[in-house]
């Protein structure tokens, strides 16, 4: 497969996954903000989203204050913000456009139509219709895109690059959601009703609320939430699950330059496979997640160099 084609497929799937996870993160923050709290605390939660995406400067340049409406506007509909849902859907579609001959018609139509619809929704329209509706819509469109991929695409190299993009992005995004929310939740620590709703919202944001119930059949505790989202092998949005897929798909596309990238992926996977949540928490969850995200970044970089934009034109 053409390196450039693989590059577009990889980023197409990353952007649609990113849009979905951003919708999840904003949704959980929105829901958490409805639980009674001080205005400061609420704005802090919104600010965490900006910081998490390293967008402090870009945000400050356009918006006078951090509050729910401004952050939502910036992260949902702002075309100047390349990390907004709007931009992610546009970039997913642009990448798909560049390889529309490689993906199936259904896949292309899904991403194209998603973008056309998103483009025509103003932020005011989104608010009026209920922003929760919009987040649901983004999640459904992403699911549809994944579904058409699974249901229609030949499972050759192109499929592996798409899966690789999806899983790498999801690993990063789940780690981010966990990091920012765990951070905010943990210091309060009291076992009140508030906490229950907050943890519940976090689990729901990664579609893990029912999973948690099923897996633990017990009250929600922060340790188990961390365990579920990091270590659980069969939970589709956990870090462990994502790394299973990353390793598997990397093996399937391996070439003669990719040994080091495969080794790094294997190492990260093994560490998740054999880790205990107590050890991770003892090390400090934030530190652990930061390290994890760094290593995901390095993996993405390695994949890029090995397959997508080969530097040497050695024939």
């Amino acid at each position: 497969m053409l390196s450039r084609t693989a590059d577009h497929l990889f980023w197409m799937s990353r952007y649609i996954e990113r849009a979905e996870n951003l919708a999840r993160l904003l949704d959980v923050t929105w829901q958490m903000s409805m639980v009674p709290q001080s205005e400061d605390a609420a704005n802090q939660n919104w600010h965490a989203i900006i910081t998490l995406n390293s967008l402090d400067e870009a945000f400050a340049a356009k918006y006078p204050a951090v509050n729910a409406e401004n952050v939502l506007r910036f992260m949902v509909s702002d075309a100047d913000n390349y990390s907004s849902i709007y931009s992610c859907l546009r970039l997913a579609r642009e990448n798909a456009h560049a390889v529309r001959g490689t993906i199936t018609t259904e896949m292309w139509e899904t991403l194209n139509f998603t973008w056309l619809e998103a483009r025509d929704k103003s932020f005011e329209q989104i608010l009026n219709a209920g922003i929760g509706e919009f987040f649901e819509w983004v999640k459904m469109r992403s699911s549809l895109s994944r579904g058409t991929t699974l249901g229609t695409l030949l499972q050759d190299e192109s499929y592996h690059f798409i899966r690789l993009g999806t899983l790498l992005e999801r690993a990063d995004n789940t780690a981010r959601i966990l990091d920012v929310k765990y951070h905010v939740l943990r210091p309060h620590g009291d076992e009140g009703a508030t906490d229950f709703y907050q943890w519940g919202a976090l689990l729901r944001s990664v579609s893990a609320f029912e999973v948690y119930r099923k897996a633990y059949r017990d009250v929600i505790t922060p340790e188990r939430v961390a365990e579920l989202l990091i270590l659980r092998n069969d939970m589709p949005r956990s870090l462990h699950f994502c790394m299973n897929g990353v390793v598997k798909n990397l093996d399937l596309i391996a070439n003669r330059h990719s040994g080091e990238t495969q080794r790094q992926a294997g190492l990260l996977h093994a560490q998740l496979h054999y880790a205990r949540v107590e050890d991770i928490l003892a090390q400090g969850l934030h530190e652990w997640l930061t390290d994890f995200m760094d290593r995901i970044y390095i993996l993405g970089d390695g994949i890029s160099k090995d397959f997508l934009v080969p530097l040497a034109e050695a024939a």
């Binding site: 053409l2 456009h97 001959g101 194209n112 690059f161 034109e313």
Partner: protein, 493 residues
């Protein structure tokens, strides 16, 4: 632009008496002079009359939505980057009876064969120039003549593997060739999508008519491309080379690559080493044998042509000259579809094939000739004047529609630089019933069949792309000017 490759040309046929547009002066594809329905449209007409308006309106809306969702669009230059428009699709087909198509097809075969022989000749022995049939300077000083092609042998002696010949009907319905597009003619994807759409919207019509199929075009094209692979390559790697996603015809590039099952590459995906072309893949470099390129000569190789081209592949000309890769179409075909060469095509046919031309040329005045220039200057209000090397409808005068100032302006241009212009009579372009806001009304149209050549074989799928001018009285069928397309039916006996 809309389409590359002279999709703008039919506008020269503006029958420009716009104020007294009387459709009776034009050949109507569907109705005869007495207002009766022509035999080959009879069944369609019956169907149309018996089908409720609401159903047709619903189907038209369905077609619009489907084209949007599938993204069958074209980019418009000068508009917001990435912005795309739909090309309007009309649901009334353009129907051609079998006998008419056979005659047209035989004329197209003859014409394209002669054009390929002409191209081979001028890059080799130049017999036609020696025989004095075409003034040598007309060819050799033409900007589209590529000296780098002199003595280069191309597989099968074929230069224009894909030709998009623009044909119109005028007068009593006789066919005229307007232009031979031999560089990178486009539009074939619309021909295929229009058919797909018609079959989806109105399957019952295909049960009532024996419409010759066209959907095998990509297979035919792939077969032709494989047939012209470099010597000794038994299982050639074929690719489609596109300028990229912002090109107006990008949809078509992806479409053809997908339909043929070959890679769609950009210049940056290719590189040349030791005069061999490779593409950069996830498993390392892979050799490329045949390139169906949708990039103009000028941008193909920054080392050989425009040095500022970022679309091309450095060194590809050398690989081509060495015979290690085949380009379709060949480099240097533009000289044969140039407006200054067009008037000589009938002579080429006589010279190379010893046959009389089966298709008409539009009579053309070459203003570089004194007599022609005098005639043109005296008849400007009736004529269409075009720049010899112009494209895209720029630098053109449509006499009957022009103001006095415009005509005076052109008179000065002609006097200053007569050899830069040709002139043709304004033809009465045929028309065909078409859905417009007011209902069904006649609109002018043209036809672009796609003619494929390899070795001695010249093939085409029946019909071609029909373009229609949707504005009343207009003959501008250019897609960026609101022109639309129709499905083209060649009826089998």
């Amino acid at each position: 632009m809309g389409f590359a490759g002279g999709m703008e040309t039919a506008e020269i046929l503006v029958r420009a008496s716009l104020s007294d547009e009387s459709t009776m002066n034009f050949y109507n594809e569907m109705m005869d002079a007495n207002g009766g329905v022509r035999a080959h449209y009879q069944r369609y007409d019956d169907w149309l009359k018996s089908t409720p308006h609401e159903r047709i309106a619903r189907k038209r809306a369905e077609a619009d939505l489907a084209f949007h969702r599938v993204g069958i669009t074209f980019a418009v230059y000068g508009e917001e980057a990435g912005k795309e428009r739909l090309i309007p699709f009309d649901i009334v087909p353009r129907i051609i009876p079998s006998a008419e198509w056979k005659a047209l097809q035989s004329g197209l075969r003859q014409r394209v064969k002669a054009l390929n022989m002409f191209l081979h000749d001028i890059y080799h022995d130049q017999e036609i120039l020696k025989a004095g049939i075409i003034p040598a300077e007309q060819v050799l000083n033409n900007a589209q003549y590529r000296p780098v092609m002199k003595g280069v042998d191309v597989p099968g002696g074929i230069y224009a593997h894909i030709a998009g010949v623009d044909v119109v009907r005028a007068g009593e319905g006789e066919f005229y060739v307007l232009e031979d597009n031999l560089r990178v003619p486009s539009g074939v994807s619309y021909m295929l999508e229009d058919r797909k759409m018609m079959m989806r919207l109105f399957p019952e019509l295909f049960a009532k008519h024996k419409v010759a199929p066209v959907q095998h075009y990509p297979d035919l094209l792939l077969e032709k491309l494989r047939a012209v692979a470099p010597k000794g390559v038994s299982n050639p790697t074929v690719v489609v080379l596109t300028p990229g996603a912002y090109n107006s015809a990008y949809f078509e590039h992806t479409f053809l690559a997908q339909q043929m099952g070959v890679e769609l590459v950009e210049g940056r995906d290719l590189f040349v080493k030791n005069e061999v072309v490779y593409m950069q893949t996830t498993q390392g470099p892979q050799r490329v044998d045949v390139i169906y390129r949708r990039i103009d000569d000028d941008f193909l190789d920054p080392q050989a042509f425009r040095p500022d081209s970022a679309l091309g592949v450095p060194g590809i000309l050398k690989a081509y000259q060495a015979g290690n890769v085949t380009l379709a179409n060949a480099i240097g075909t533009g000289v044969a579809d140039d407006k200054s060469i067009y008037p000589y095509v009938p002579e080429m046919i006589r010279f190379y094939l010893g046959e009389e031309p089966k298709l008409n040329n539009v009579p053309t005045y070459m203003c570089r000739k004194k007599d022609d220039l005098d005639y043109v200057l005296a008849h400007l209000p009736e004529l269409v004047v075009k720049e010899v090397h112009g494209a895209g409808g720029y630098g053109m005068l449509v006499g009957p529609a022009a103001t006095k100032e415009q005509i005076e302006h052109f008179r000065q241009l002609l006097l200053a630089k007569p050899d830069g212009y040709i002139a043709q009579p304004t033809l009465a372009l045929s028309n065909c019933p078409t859905f417009v806001e007011e209902g069904i009304a006649p609109r002018h149209l043209d036809l672009r069949p796609f003619v494929l050549s390899s070795g001695d074989c010249v093939n085409m799928v029946p019909g071609g792309l029909t373009r229609v001018a949707l504005t009343k009285g207009s003959l501008v069928v250019n897609s960026s000017q609101g022109g639309g397309t129709k499905d083209t039916w060649v009826l089998e006996d």
